[in-house]
Symmetry: C2
Subunit: 424 residues, 2 copies
């Protein structure tokens, strides 16, 4: 039997050559169709596919699935079934849309209730996130920020090379691609002032991140080892961890970022499974010093995922401002999850763990305006000739992620949010 | 009509004089009865009261309530009905159990299905918490910790007197009173070592806190002003924010506490409403410098709530190690909520926001072993003669909170957790 990943598989659906969604991807998401019904779906090419309807028509026969598992407004219950079941579903979807399978292909009436043009559906938040964790796992990013604030000699904190630094973020304000954000109000303290001032953030920034979504974990008090961690990784999204640098700088000592982050984070709508990412595994960067044993992992658990950030001014064209890659991350997701649970912290299906800004070795790889403008010391010129040090009202920030190993290409689509003026 | 708070109201139930649960309290919680049915309930004296059964018997007639609103395993749906409805329910409960009301009092059959001895029910987590925030609002605590690590002259960070410092915590590992915790494993770096070591935390600590639970808030992008904040405060619990000081010290720069905190936090089971706390309002401490306008609030929104911490060694007796008071907090809950949302961050019913350790002016008021032992420089002697600098395996930490204004007394019960040895 061909798995969903078989490179030779072709679909009977029309798929453009550079689509992020060939039949080898088959991500999961939640959408609302034109008739306002909400379902869990997948995507092939420019088609959103109604998994609830496929299930009702019996296409998942032989897989043990609750009747209403796709008739949900989040993926959580589906994820809770566990990775082996989710894998069966994904493989079955590949069979249904395989060029050699005429069952659905030849049934126009069924196709009409299962296939929707992606422009005609509204993508919704794919998961309910109880707990959101943000890591800080790009060495280049940590070094850049550390250099700006403490100089190159003290750039990395003493703990950084020994553990994947992370902190808890706000779940309620995570939104799906397409929703706009509002410039936050807040306190900041100008360098030359004696006291803080209140007003709209002047240093609004994006952070280019990716995030993984977990399955249910173990009970409180149990840990997940690096050997086990992949069993608990469901899928990934592109993630924009919006940051108000001026609010953050004033508030963050000693307990970390708070209002400088929790006004909004944006995520892409389609959750790409780790099964789909199998062909894009690569070796992780060398780790020196050697991590403590509980963080060691022999397997290749880094992924070659190309990342791009665009800024699109109001009414203007997109300008590429950053190209990076997920493989630059020093700490892997397996190490992050093992670290997160080594003290017995429990995880649940739908938890989201973000990477931290993913910067790379060259200035064109820097994943935030803070780094691209080097704390405002220089400007980025957009294609319309306008300049940016940070993000302006009316700007849309778009992040895209895709994999291409020469023989196979697939991607995540995009996360896009426009910045609305502050509400004063 | 008498409200639930009327000091002259008496109940037909037997209530011991110093009970935390007179008829003027009427907190909300969730319990499982001996027959394994789960319901939302309240407590009077030593009786747990089944609100689901009361509702089915028609006792809430005239109040607009979904049929199954009490047949839930969390208070979230009930809280979502809003404070005016919750207030109607609480006032109605007071009428049902008023000494002058014979309806239930005279019906033995109904009493049997409504009243349970508290020892015979199992209290469950009262709310599903999506987002948990921990503040750092005790000036005495911040000063003590700052003095230990930076000296008295630099004890308070420059931002501390201008905003209620806070950070996001882990929701999944919040447990209810009675559940035990496990000593966490993790990385720490001994002062004289070149590299971190891995093992059980050696500096396990409690933090004496209280927490408030919110109602649903406004949409993302809207703020809640200090004038509006009380409309969004549902109730309070006692909260033990367990801390592993050695893990925290190594990991927390620059993004704040993570594994040093997220292995467990314990909360009391009965949520005491702000309506019940009305008689205990007091003036807040003087705030100098004057806070920015968005943090100003003319009303008295501090509460006189007496706090106690006890350590009970395995098989031994309780020893009182700390007495503090909620009114010592520099930043009020109204200010905390206004600050939390001023950037547009949204809140939901069931969110939990904790105070941070509540220390007071005298050493006997210090709300953590870190402060009581002054970072391990001195020992606390327990009633059995044993000494503590931090918490040992087998110790049960018990926190109690109650209000007593001379004419009326009521309380929160307790939060209690025993520390089990690390799982190596």
């Amino acid at each position: 039997m061909l798995t969903a990943n078989d490179p030779n598989r072709k679909s009977w659906l029309d798929i453009s050559e550079n689509s992020d969604f060939p039949i080898h991807n088959l991500p999961f998401g939640v959408f609302m169709a034109k008739d306002d019904h909400i379902t869990i779906g997948t995507r092939i090419g420019d088609y959103a596919i109604d998994l609830g309807a496929l299930h009702q028509l019996g296409y998942f026969e032989g897989i043990i699935l609750p009747e209403d598992v796709f008739l949900q407004d989040t993926l959580n219950d589906f994820i809770t079934l566990g990775k082996p079941t989710c894998r069966q579903v994904r493989n079955r979807i590949a069979e249904i849309f395989d060029a050699n399978n005429s069952a659905l292909q030849g049934n126009a009436e069924q196709r009409d209730i299962i296939l929707f043009a992606v422009e005609e559906v509204q993508m919704l938040m794919p998961v309910f996130i109880q707990d959101y964790t943000d890591f800080y796992s790009s060495r280049e990013h940590a070094f850049n920020v550390g250099t700006m604030f403490r100089g190159a000699d003290n750039a990395l904190m003493p703990n950084w090379l020994h553990l994947p630094v992370g902190y808890h973020g706000r779940s309620s304000s995570i939104i799906v691609s397409g929703e706009n954000i509002r410039r936050p109000m807040g306190q900041s303290k100008p360098a030359d002032a004696d006291a803080p001032v209140f007003g709209p953030s002047k240093l609004l920034d994006f952070e280019l991140e990716m995030a993984f979504i977990t399955t249910d974990g173990k009970a409180l008090g149990e840990c997940i080892t690096t050997e086990e961690a992949e069993d608990y990784l469901f899928g990934m999204v592109v993630f924009n961890d919006w940051s108000a640098r001026d609010l953050q700088a004033w508030e963050y000592v000693p307990l970390g970022p708070f209002l400088g982050k929790n006004f909004a984070s944006s995520m892409s709508a389609w959750v790409v499974t780790f099964d789909a990412l199998e062909p894009y595994r690569v070796e992780k960067p060398a780790q020196d010093p050697e991590p403590l044993p509980y963080l060691q992992c022999a397997k290749n658990t880094s992924y070659d995922i190309k990342l791009e950030v665009y800024i699109q001014p109001e009414g203007g064209a997109e300008s590429l401002v950053c190209e990076s890659n997920h493989k630059y991350l020093y700490w892997t997701m397996v190490q992050q999850l093992a670290h997160h649970t080594v003290n017995g912290c429990n995880i649940n299906a739908g938890d989201l763990m973000a990477s931290g800004t993913i910067s790379g070795p060259n200035p064109s790889n820097y994943g935030s305006m803070l780094e691209l403008s080097w704390r405002g010391a220089k400007s980025i010129t957009l294609s319309d000739g306008s300049e940016r040090k940070f993000i302006q009202d009316g700007d849309t920030v778009i992040m895209r992620a895709f994999c291409d190993n020469g023989s196979q290409r697939m991607g995540f689509g995009e996360v896009r949010s426009k910045v609305l003026p502050a509400k004063e």
